[in-house]
Amino acid sequence: MDVLALAVAAALLVVGVAAAVVRHWSASAACIGVGGVLPLMAYADGFDAPVLLATLTLLAAPLAAPFVGWGCTPADPALRIALGAGALAGPVRTLLYDPFYDPSCTSSCDPNPLALAHISASANEALWLLGYVSAAALTWAALRGPSRAARAALATVAAGLTAAPAQAVALTTAAGIVALALTGLLVARAFESRARVADLARALENAADVETALRTAVGDPGITVTYPRERRARRTPPQASGPAPGQVTTVLTGPDGVVAEVHHDPGMSDTSALAAAVTGPARLALENGRLAARVRRQTEALAASRRRIVDDSDDARRHLERDLHDGAQQHVLALGLALRTALDGTEAPEVVDTVHRSLSATQAVLGELRELSHGFYPASLEQMGLRHALDGVVDRATAPVAVEALPDRRLPIEVERAIYLLVARLAATASRPLTVRVSTGDARVAVVVVGAALPSGVLIDVFAVLGGSLRPDDDAGNGPVVRGVLPTSLLAHSEAS
């Protein structure tokens, strides 16, 4: 028996130390290491071990059981039950075990003044057997990595061995009392931890972000949470927050990979609270936060892209207008003047006729170019505002357009341009009379075009880019209506040109 106990102890110690070295210090490694001490104690207690070793193991035994429980996981109910039973078993055995009735303990045993009754020798042997079976299970489980079963086995071993030292009754009693005290402490901590998890669940319901809830629940005001971005999203700017100097990062993973990174104080004694917090309701909230962060990033990227598209088309229109004005128009004008000069120098009727026709064609081209460039970008909008620019729209509309209400003051140029584009586009394709009303109020400007059908998607984009909206509506019997809303102060959007 002693050889088996020593072998188990040595194996567990080696595995524990190796785990501690490879994975740094962790609760699981501690479990295994301490687990190795326990069979050693069985050896020291049950046989003629050196006095020093026996004393040390007797002192360590009551501390070992609660430590194993605490170091592994206080949240595991199976462990708690086993641990509680083991811690109780010591004092109980002290009350029930009478060495005078133990055949294996004839002359060397101290009397047990606390013994109220006695258990049979076979019951005593059963306890020993249980200890070794548990030790074997522990070895097997530890080799497969720390698991719930391994922890339960550890706890059982601890429980069995806490009850074992019978030869020194006084020590056994002291050990039992210490074990009880530590177990009480453990249970109190477990309750506290459970309360924190409950607090966290409540906080998550109320708090706007998971960060604040975690801070409260774990008691570390410096906690920050970041969500990893997808590997391919390169264009997005670097994340604002990360671990502060002196913080460590706990990476939380889920089935789909990394869920979140929690940056916290390394000295935070209660990492188990963090673990408990993030395994339960916070895990869902973190997952939620990660998804929200991803959606936010994608939304921002989309909005930026939409803004670029609208800005580009705006610039393109302006450039087209400038190009027409500076290029084509003046050349056609020069052509007209040349034709006029040619007309002066000839009397031949057929030439005069041709030149006359060319001149009127030239004039038609000039008129068309003028209308074209106006359509691209009305010159009067920037200098003279919406009212004058809309006049041009009214002049060119395919159906009567009545501008019934316009704000007296100028609006931001982007807003005026959006409204102009809307009215121009609707008026150009109108098949029935339109009524346009633009009104300001409450930091917003509202555009209503009565009689117009659904505007094109580009216009919806133009409005959305400026932080507004554009939608078709129905005006109680007056036919279709297009309603647009824009903010009158554009904080985020300022044009470079």
Binding site: D326, Q330, L333, L337, Q363, L366, H374, A379, A389, D391
Partner: protein, 216 residues
């Protein structure tokens, strides 16, 4: 007649100068931007300035700003805006800020030499000239409410001519009525538009402004 021309586009500027020189108008200076134009006007004191609206540096409304300044600081120099833009707003602003002695022609009007010279002559004489095409465009507009509805067909016709900057005599000749009848019509127009207190020349401008405002 002494004239300066302000136009940043080379071909157009040469075209305008060519048209004017052909008609024995003395072009005493050419400018490519508003500041050159202002110094030319200050030194040459021409009878008129032919000015493009869009000039460097911003290519927006430099010409209109310069026109108002010229009319304010050098009343002896009339301004004829030659513009690519069919924008009633620009016309209104020119008349508002420049008062009389200003005109607004579309650029393709340069091909019509007689019209250019006629307009130039009239702004120098202190009249207001608006390109007939702009006026007819305004008249053709379909309106739902029109403050000019009170005017009769004939009165509206007369006002249209006034808006183009014609004198009573010219209107009479055009409409084949006597000058006296024109005067009566104009008085009616003034009364109907509520312009009874102002001086006559001022009232002509006011009537045009009312007309344009109603149209815009």
């Amino acid at each position: 007649m002494r004239v300066v021309v302000a136009e940043d586009q080379l071909l157009t500027r040469e075209g305008i100068v060519h048209v004017l020189r052909d008609a024995d108008v003395q072009v005493v200076g050419e400018a490519v931007d508003a500041s050159t134009l202002m110094s030319l006007v200050a030194t040459e004191r021409p009878d008129a300035a032919v000015v493009d609206i869009r000039m460097p540096p911003t290519h927006t409304d430099e010409g209109l700003v310069a026109a108002a300044r010229i009319r304010r600081e050098y009343p002896g120099t009339a301004v004829l805006i030659v513009s690519q833009h069919l924008e009633p707003g620009f016309v209104l602003r020119l008349l508002d800020e420049g008062g009389d002695g200003v005109g607004y022609l579309l650029k393709d009007r340069i091909l019509d030499r007689a019209a250019v010279l006629d307009s130039l002559r009239r702004v120098v004489a202190g009249e207001c000239v608006v390109d007939p095409f702009i006026v007819s465009r305004l008249l053709a507009r379909e309106r739902r409410t029109d403050p000019l509805d009170a005017l009769s067909e004939r009165e509206r016709e007369v006002l249209e001519q006034v808006a183009e900057g014609l004198t009573n005599a010219e209107i009479a000749r055009r409409l084949f009525i006597t000058e006296r009848t024109v005067e009566v019509h104009i008085k009616q127009v003034f009364a109907k538009l509520g312009l009874v207190d102002a001086a006559t020349t001022n009232r002509r401008v006011m009537a045009v402004l009312t007309y344009l405002r109603a149209a815009t």
